[in-house]
Symmetry: D2
Subunit: 397 residues, 4 copies
């Protein structure tokens, strides 16, 4: 293919030059005296991204799924009851994982396009007088439907119910992109992955763990070894790992954290909101709707766009990829064929989104969707122009 492709799936995201270069290193001895000077600050800086002061962050050579597994196996015991709202492909998979690991999962099934149902959760917690529920699983940003849930609100509900369950949050497509406050929101286990807001390839699971969860890990009975916090705690303290870490990923993470710090978390959150709103203006100009049912669910990292009745979103995606070199996200499971997704997270700016919007317009028209050429682009342009303060200029290179 001539020229670059446009990557607008909601992860893996575009890897900045600086991160790519940082990852492209000669190998080195992972037990050398120089390693702690790299590793120890990573843990410190990750705490800032997770927004936790009292918690600890772990790094596992694994994907987000591995992060889910680590968070569960280290803190729960066979047969433990967990409460899990379910409203998209990733909350579905998380529940499946818990079941296969031997937990007693009670799901709260909600319409896809909605998020964590705070009132229902409140009712259920209130009813759980014996505190049989050991854990609540909340998908902060359901990547399949483009829905962001209110984790701070969930914490309030838990507090109001005075319920001692641990709060597990899947922040894979939110942490580093959307507002996330582990400490303030009382999150006990927060799972992130390297290939989203951290702007790296997949391969690192990052897990923020509260003191309460660390305490729980001392008695949790689920079997584990690779993902055991204990070995990490022992070796991380001196700047090492219990097994050979992917050194290139650690160097990449260093560069990623440098960029995050340079831009500033609040600025990053703001940039994602600003860019996402432009995309939403385009969707409205196309007379299309989002999978997310209400504005309060709107995700700033991914928009799942519903194609009109009688059209197949898969055709849009295939056309975009084959004719224009544009990668859009597919609809998963029950929304397959009904939505296509534009990921707008990570290392991104207005100009890049022109590729997504222009390419989507051409592709939709090519396969017969009743979209006006240029309409979405125009709407996004006008929104982005309105802000004179250049979002992307907020941070120095």
């Amino acid at each position: 293919m001539q020229g670059i492709r446009g990557l607008f799936v909601p992860g893996p995201t575009n890897v900045p030059e600086a991160v790519r270069k940082a990852m492209d290193v000669p190998m080195e001895d992972h037990r050398s005296p120089d390693v702690p000077a790299l590793v120890l600050p990573l843990f410190q800086d990750l705490k800032k991204v997770f927004r936790t002061e009292t918690g600890q962050v772990f790094l596992f050579p694994a994907t987000g799924t591995g992060g889910w597994e680590a968070s569960i196996t280290n803190t729960l015991s066979p047969g433990d009851k967990v409460l899990a709202p379910r409203f998209g492909q990733f909350s579905v998979l998380w529940v499946d994982l818990c079941q296969r690991l031997g937990l007693d999962v009670e799901t709260l099934d909600c319409e896809w396009g909605t998020g964590v149902p705070l009132e229902t959760v409140a009712e259920r917690l209130m009813a759980d007088k014996k505190h049989e529920i050991k854990a609540i699983l909340a998908c902060h940003n359901e990547t399949a439907t483009g829905v962001t849930s209110d984790i701070g609100g969930l914490r309030k509900v838990m507090d109001q119910c005075d319920h001692p369950a641990l709060l597990y949050v899947d922040g894979i497509s939110s942490i580093g992109s959307l507002e996330f406050r582990m400490e303030d929101w009382g999150v006990d286990l927060a799972v992130a992955g390297s290939q989203k807001g951290f702007m790296m390839p997949a391969g690192l699971a990052l897990i923020g763990v509260s003191q309460k969860a660390l305490e729980a890990s001392k008695t949790a009975q689920l079997r584990r070894c690779y993902f055991d916090f204990k070995d990490m705690i022992a070796t991380n303290a001196t700047g090492y790992f219990p097994y050979t870490p992917p050194m290139h990923m650690l160097h990449g993470l260093r560069a990623s954290l440098n960029r995050i710090e340079a831009e500033g978390l609040e600025n990053i959150w703001g940039r994602h909101r600003f860019l996402a709103e432009g995309v939403r203006r385009a969707v409205a100009a196309w007379n299309l709707t989002l999978c997310a049912k209400e504005p309060k669910w709107h995700s700033d990292t991914v928009s799942a766009i519903v194609v009109p009745e009688g059209h197949d979103a898969r055709k849009v995606i295939a056309r975009a990829y084959e004719r224009y070199g544009l990668s859009l996200g597919a609809g998963l499971s029950v929304v397959a064929g009904k939505v296509f997704r534009i990921g707008h997270l990570g290392d991104l700016n207005e100009l890049m989104l022109m590729m997504a919007l222009g390419g989507a317009e051409m592709s939709m028209r090519d396969v017969g969707l009743p979209i006006e050429a240029g309409s979405g682009v125009a709407a996004a342009e006008e929104f982005w122009r309105a802000s004179n303060s250049r979002s992307m200029a907020l941070a120095a290179e």
Copy 2:
């Protein structure tokens, strides 16, 4: 800055990943036995790109200006008369170079926005009964104004006049992008640069030289050493250079030539025409005009767009760069402030041009140009969509 920048100056152009990687090599002995296996095929394949079978191509570690100097100093003598149409910044500079090197330059000054005036040249050649004119200098693609001249037509004029002058062509922003036929058009000296159609950084001047010009070099009296064809002829024959070549550039050129061969020269010319036409449709939809006075002058590698009276193109360019991370080309010399340029050459596709068009629309509106949001993008989209045969899919990766 977050995300990538958009590079749409008419050179340097975007360097493909494969070329970047090919250039990023450990150094090696430039006199090793392995070097000829790299170097000799470069010369063979360059001849295909220049479309010459009987000529020879030289590679100098220099820029296009160095290519001009090499072509002149190797083939002319002090005081030689050369005829040079002049209609843009680069034809101006080439004339200046000739004068400083001691030639007697007769210029044919034309309006900027036009190209080589075939009839005027014909008249002048006809009048030159004594064949005092030793050389004709023609800028194939005047990058400053986005004007492509008719070199094949110029050759016909020379033939009709039966004039023996050498034909020098500045193909810096055309060779490898626009139709160019050195052999068929009887070009004697064709100068290209690595940073345009060859999709590399600046640093290599590539010069196609006809047998007639090589013959002329044996008696040419202008002083030269670094740029002497003679040393190149002697060492290139065995796959080496008279001095240490930039090995990384040679490896990059190998990757560049591989891409060119994979796509096919005719396909490359077609892709440039196709992408350029989309840009011109956008310009028309904006109700703006090109600097090129007539369609026959339209360049497929760069469009110089005239801003309306009372507006300053420099503001558009500054806004695009500072607010949106978009590099547009400036108006040079007498058209400074009057035009901005969109380079559309090299490793490019429709999706990437969305960045240029969308970014230009936002920038123009930001500084007050009476442009309708989305109009240019829509026009380009509709043009590009009309072709179902994906231009960018013509060549395998």
Copy 3:
């Protein structure tokens, strides 16, 4: 530091340029239609490296420890008895993992410096009339002591005893470097890691699984999800993964497998033997001994060198690293301070080993070891020179 460092730990190993470049890619959609063309051949080619025709190879985003866990949890059930010879740090850790996952491990403790004790295993299997032993764990190459065990011999013992236990082999520091024949040797689960013979960073666990083991996985009761073969089997069949794979590692693996195929497995085994023997000649010339007790245990991927009584190997290692930029492997656990290790596996040649030998000589003399300057280098030189057939020239670039 000026210049390059010398990396001679037994993993991570030196990553060749071609593999580094292959890993340094823009991200892409892991669900795109182009992914299977990358992924499916990886599995085919990995089977060649594992030397299995009937088995299946799995790729997990994890380290070798994760590979151990995957092999165990997919094929065994809580309380299953496994027989595990133990004679070095890595066999110790593997046993620990099994115990933590809930198995009943019976260890055969042997002197460090020896390997799998075939006769003892035979006796034990003979005694196991009820076939209570479900698995035998064998460390093919014990990286801590530089000992290679006879896996083919172990299979013969198992066959002679007509014992149905599954044979698990830790081939992390052997597969891709030492002779390994999964099919011929009847290995049921063979674990490799990307950072050794595959010449990549850590981050991929590669597991060869026999049909017998796949059958066992259908009823195995240990809990698993991330490492579940089942999800891999379902998605790998079409060229995908159950979760986001580290695409850059897959591209790196492609380049690694290309190199392996270009050199040829037998040539790779031969090269490792040839280079290792040079190192052993150097050790002999230094009047030092190897940790491996007998020549039959000599590892061709790592030599653990015993320092004389009264000296501390840690000082040699520290001096080498700090003064000369040379990374040597440390003695682990009970041999800490007693040995230092030279890793000689992966992308290596005689010239590179000059760094290891010369650097080791200087470092040993610096800290007072009674070594003659140049003696080891001379011995290695003379051995390597004796072979006129250049080991490193066996494969094309």
Copy 4:
């Protein structure tokens, strides 16, 4: 080939990772407002490396030969007399260049293996009462023979003779590696190349020019355009170039200058002396001699080693390259076959030189030279060990 090659020609030298990465950049607009922030500090920092405060440094996209031509054509006029000691291939070529450019060159031919003959020069200058000699050309480090001349001494001679000639110094293989003091030594034109002490690929000629030489350039009559100081002076002042510069080389130069500054010029000079002395000890232990006739001529960047009568140095070089992947420098012109060269300049340390010495030992023995295995390595080891202060540790990464 497996593993890395050893590059020990006296240029191109090994490019450090940091420089390679800095050069591997996306292209950018060379006229963008961000360019001066890159370019202006380059000129400032280059002055520090040339050790000039009142002079100006120019950067041309060219090789060292282009640097020679630029220095000559900008400051001399046709027929000017220049005095040029000649004692090696590069001083020979420089004289040739001057002659082809139209100068009247008076050579002082000296035995190869010696350098600038101060007394002879003094005599000649004394005799030049009319000051007909306009320029003295001195090769600071004759790369072909490994001879360093005394430029400070030459200046003293010129001063003692009160001679106004301009002093031209070829510092291509010395500047950035050997002690060089443009200001103190009154050098008027100092030529360097990117591929030696600057640790980059070839492609940049760097020229230090004194105020006296800049003054001379105003009236010098040799023809020039590409290499004209005037255009550079005009555009460099604001941080730009008169034509498209190789942006990647400018970024590489930035990284190179960062490394030079981090290590410190005096430390760099010291490291080169230290490493070179180890090589010389090895040569002595081999019972071989250097081409340089006396210790005062010994170059710290390259050693030209004479093979014994009856042997052919070309065989050593061929064997080293083909069997061991080691690039040694060839003997040029009259010393072809008589010497092989070990370049020891740039980004280098003791460990890397083990490759050169060990590989040279094997190769020499392979082709029958009466060298004792390990003898040179041992001698170098003992010399380098003697210094406890780690040369390569002097500068932070």
